[in-house]
Symmetry: C2
Subunit: 215 residues, 2 copies
Amino acid sequence: MDFKTEFKPETIQPQQIEVRSFEMIDEEIDEHQFPEEQYPVVRRVIHASADFELGKSMIIHPDAVQAGIKAIRDGRKIVCDVQMVQVGISKPRVEKYGCDVNVYISDPDVVEEAKRLNTTRAIISMRKAIKEAEGGIFAIGNAPTALLELIRLVKEGEAKPGLIIGMPVGFVSAAESKEELAKLDIPFITNLGRKGGSTVTVAALNAISILADQV
Amino acid sequence: MDFKTEFKPETIQPQQIEVRSFEMIDEEIDEHQFPEEQYPVVRRVIHASADFELGKSMIIHPDAVQAGIKAIRDGRKIVCDVQMVQVGISKPRVEKYGCDVNVYISDPDVVEEAKRLNTTRAIISMRKAIKEAEGGIFAIGNAPTALLELIRLVKEGEAKPGLIIGMPVGFVSAAESKEELAKLDIPFITNLGRKGGSTVTVAALNAISILADQV
């Protein structure tokens, strides 16, 4: 491959961009309600969305950050609702603790069972996930039906996730699913309202893994 | 795999959710400046972000929609800056016209060359892409440096993309890169300001491929 061009790059490296971005967020955020321990998660969500309103709409269970750190250090599985979340998660930092990052929504047994029950693949993927990822981190950024099903499984005592990061986006069921999540007394990270999505869910997960990887 | 639970799902299918979401967007959007041809792109971006402000901040070149439709029907390559964009793009609809969906940022030759030149992999990936994807669609949702480099290559006559979808998010360079894109007189889809990201870039691309696939 020939990459030659006349361009003499005064390149800003991604690392420097991130440092400067975080400084700008700290300068611009004004007041917020988040304790010191939770702020790195909120800040990374703002960084990924450029949306202070979204960041400030976050609700983080008091045990969530520590639970997430523990799940990663214990090498628990990470479960994503969709592939966009899976590929966004920074792998080396979690794999070094033995965590692997899974998504079940396109598994042939999930597709087949969803068809048979006339339900969504997202729902069936959560039923599979809870059996394979007890104590793990569930990162749900796209499918409200996945989050609602996971909440139901928790309530019925069938699922015991270490941490739920639930931030689906959308006009139908997304806000409602996050309100339900915020009522649970287990470790969760979520936000109120319609906004959310794969990129901010990834950001929250990556923030937790960075914290887990610090001494 | 045993999926049995007591749950009797009154499942809302994703298809129904999308139809209802679009109705809600149509009801809530108030006035906007987009011609009929462009509105499906804007609406899908709002759907993916639940953010009317972001949708209304879009700037779409008058030739963009037709150029995107033509590129897909002609089976041109689709180039993404990052893997999150690549996996989000709905594949069957573009592959049926012979388009494949590429991302070069982790290619060994790109990584090596970026190290050698002390620049970003995003920049080098664009230099590789323009050689392999003339006339193709460039979907840039994450890296402002990729977009700025692509703009430079267009200005210098080295790149002839069929359509640039450039919607990177962030505090440093993202807004500036999109302002530069909006000055070009070639087909582009972008938005002003810091907001953007992989999910909305995917939404814009998928909107174009849906249009291409309609009679």
